[in-house]
């Protein structure tokens, strides 16, 4: 399998590519991260795994015993060549708080994040939004449309997610290329306004 990949020139970057940009696609379990990345990626989405050893979530400080567990964390990612010299990588990553090292790795050098949300489980987005704020990574929220999911007015969703007034909120269909591209555009436009303010 690997040799087939290696001989398939389509997986390689153009020779002229000089810069790689990184955006994160985050959200809770089964919110559509893998679908979103797969819809936009020009390569078959890849999965990279990291084995993490960490203190257990249920440690008992008083007893002075730390339990350690080994977990495998997977990230799905895809690639979009945006110009002769620029390539964009999209990393879909889990929102669990305990994967600190993975988050440090993922957020390093990332321009920003798109938080996918599901109107049926909005409260499950808080963890991941909290993590982004901790890591100082700006984000926009895209409500991924699921067939049969309730449609709420934007104001209600903003309130339920406790969004800042400037945080963009859009809807998208992670299965649709144009809709997903628009969601990313909203994110990058927002990042631009923030950069402009910083240097103003």
């Amino acid at each position: 399998m690997d040799s087939a990949l290696a001989s398939d020139g389509a997986v390689y970057l153009r020779h002229s590519v000089r810069t790689a940009a990184k955006l994160l696609v985050v959200g809770h379990f089964a919110v559509g991260k893998t679908t979103f990345v797969g819809t936009l990626s020009e390569i078959r989405p890849l999965r990279t795994e990291e084995t993490m050893t960490q203190a257990g979530a249920h440690l008992d400080d008083l007893a002075g015993t730390e339990s350690k567990t080994t977990t495998t964390v997977a990230m799905d990612f895809g690639r979009l060549t945006l110009s002769d010299s620029l390539v964009l990588y999209l990393f879909g990553a889990p929102g669990q708080k305990r994967f600190t090292r993975l988050w440090q790795d993922m957020t390093r050098g990332a321009l920003g994040a798109l938080v996918l949300a599901d109107t049926r489980r909005l409260e499950q987005s808080f963890d991941v939004m909290g993590l982004l704020e901790e890591h100082g990574l700006p984000y926009a929220v895209a409500v991924n449309h699921f067939d049969g999911a309730p449609v709420h007015p934007e104001e209600e969703i903003r309130e339920a997610l406790d969004l800042l007034p400037e945080t963009p909120l859009v809807t998208c269909d992670a299965r649709d290329r144009v809709s997903s591209t628009r969601a990313l555009i909203s994110l990058v436009e927002y990042l631009q306004t923030r950069t402009a303010q910083e240097y103003a």
Binding site: L13, T19, T48, L184
Partner: protein
């Protein structure tokens, strides 16, 4: 929509990740980001390289890839790939291109290029 899990026993063989890296958890240099682009030099001898480094070179000799893609194609954890790449940079087999060329390309310009590229896809 998570793709089916691969059988790790089949994909990774019987070798534990840290055997591949001679027990090291960290690379000889801390310059690899997930999107650092790596390129292999075709004129370097491959004899003497470990099987995993050979696989990495075989993959990278085809063209440039990011660290994350190398990890995904070889089905090795990112931390292991970084250790292997560190050694291969040290031995002159691999060169890298930093993902954050902040000196050459300010963030505002990078964002504009990303935006232009995304809009062109609509």
């Amino acid at each position: 929509m998570t793709p089916p899990r691969r059988d790790p026993g089949r994909d990774r063989g019987l070798v534990r990740p840290y055997v591949v890296t001679d027990g090291r958890a960290y690379p000889t240099r801390n310059t690899f980001d997930l999107v650092t682009l790596v390129m292999a030099h075709g004129d370097r001898p491959l004899g003497g390289l470990s099987p995993e480094k050979r696989r990495l070179m075989d993959l990278c000799l085809g063209g440039a890839l990011s660290v994350a893609e190398v990890s995904g194609h070889l089905m090795l954890p990112v931390s292991v790939v970084k250790v292997l790449l560190g050694d291969l940079v040290d031995s002159g087999h691999i060169t890298t291109r930093s993902p954050i060329p902040s000196a050459q390309l300010p963030e505002a310009q990078l964002l504009q290029e990303v935006l232009d590229g995304l809009r062109a896809r609509l």
